[in-house]
Symmetry: C2
Subunit: 66 residues, 2 copies
């Protein structure tokens, strides 16, 4: 668990929610972390494919698109 | 900008990246925030559709799936 609940709750409130349950915040945090891990994992593979040890912006962009 | 860069960088390193550029961290943070805002917006619509003022866990689940 890495992403702060306060930041996630702010995003939900920013989307126009009047009230937000604590479980909803946790559910979105989990979903967002899963998505981030998936993109990160693909990005690392793309960097490796390009013979780099450094994950760069373009690897993230490629992973988001594919 | 709400999600902390340190948390995003940890996720990329956790995916096996040896090195990570600062721009890559920002790119993933932006992508993840966009996804979170999209899910949050759909969740608020689902709560509204169910005649609730409170965004609940099930609204997030529905939004992630649809």
């Amino acid at each position: 668990m890495t992403l702060p609940k306060a930041a996630i709750e702010r995003i939900i409130r920013g989307a126009g929610a009047e009230r937000v349950s604590s479980e909803a915040v946790e559910e979105l945090r989990d979903a967002v972390e899963d998505l981030a891990e998936e993109i990160a994992s693909d990005s690392a593979k793309f960097a490796d494919y390009a013979d780099r040890n450094t994950v760069k912006k373009e690897d993230i962009g490629m992973a988001v698109q594919h």
